[in-house]
Symmetry: C2
Subunit: 151 residues, 2 copies
C-alpha cells in the first residue's frame, strides 16, 4: 500500500521548502533561480493543506540557501518553512522572515518611477511586514501586497 | 530501504510526461499552463538519463491532454514520452510529434515581422521536423531550433 500523501519523496542532503501557497510556487522557483539549477529538484503543487487551502513543496538536493536568499521568498510566501536535510534527517527548521529592505525582485507600483523607465534596479524599505508595504527608495510611493508584481 | 530513483512517486489517474530535456522542463510547464493548474502536479528535474544527460519528469493528476496540446511541447522536448495512467497503471503510451503547423507559442525570428510589431499572433509552417525549421506565414523568414524563443 502506497502512502498517497507522499507524492514527492525524501532527499538525502539539501533543503525542503514547505507551506508555500500554491499560487506562489512558481514565483518562489523564479526568485531562487531553481529553473536553471543543475542539481536534482522536485516540486509538488496543489497538495491539500489545512492552513493554506492548497500548498506547494519544493525539494532541492545538495543546495543550502543563504538567509538573504531565503528571506526574499517571504515576499510571496510568508508562510513558508524550510527544513535543512542531512543524511535524510531534518537537522534544522527555518522560518522565512520578511526582510527590512528589498532590492530588485519587485516592481515599483508607480509607472513614472525611475526604476520603471531607466536601467535602475528597484530598492524598497519595508514599512509594514504584516500587510506588506514597500516604500520605494526613489519615488517614495508605496507598493503593497495587492499590487506586487515581480520583475 | 528507499528507492532512491523514485523521487517523484506514483499518481492514481492522470498523465506522466517523461524524458523531457532538463533545460526544457519549465518551457513545457509554461506551454501546458501547468503553473496555473489547480490539480496536484509534481515535477522533478535533473534526474540522470542515459539518453538525455539530465531529464525532467512531470506528473499531472486527473488531467489528460489533447493531442494538439501535447504536440506543442514537441517543439522544446521532441524526446518526451507520455504515459496515461488509470488506477495507478499505465494504460497508454504516447510519443510527442512535431506538428505540421504551429500557432503562437514561438516568436518569429524576424524583428520586422508584423507579429513582432502588431497584435498579431505568430503562425508557422513546419518545413523541417528533423532540425526544426519553422517558416513564418507572414514574412516567410525561417525560425530554427537555434533561435527558438517562446512568447
Amino acid at each position: 500500500m502506497k502512502d498517497k500523501q507522499l507524492s514527492v519523496t525524501a532527499i538525502k542532503e539539501g533543503t525542503v521548502i514547505d507551506h508555500i501557497p500554491s499560487e506562489s510556487l512558481f514565483k518562489v522557483i523564479s526568485i531562487l533561480g531553481l529553473d536553471t539549477l543543475e542539481t536534482l529538484v522536485t516540486f509538488g503543487n496543489s497538495f491539500e493543506s489545512k492552513k493554506l487551502g492548497k500548498k506547494g513543496i519544493i525539494k532541492v538536493s545538495d543546495v543550502f540557501f543563504s538567509t538573504e536568499d531565503i528571506n526574499k521568498i517571504a515576499l510571496v510566501a510568508p508562510s513558508a518553512k524550510l527544513n535543512i536535510i542531512r543524511n535524510y534527517e531534518v537537522v534544522e527548521k527555518v522560518k522565512v522572515e520578511i526582510p527590512d529592505k528589498v532590492q530588485g525582485i519587485i516592481k515599483c507600483v508607480n509607472p513614472k518611477c525611475i526604476t520603471n523607465n531607466e536601467v535602475v534596479s528597484t530598492k524598497f524599505q519595508v514599512i509594514s511586514k504584516n500587510d506588506l508595504q514597500l516604500k520605494c527608495h526613489y519615488c517614495e510611493k508605496i507598493t503593497t501586497k495587492d499590487n506586487l508584481d515581480m520583475i
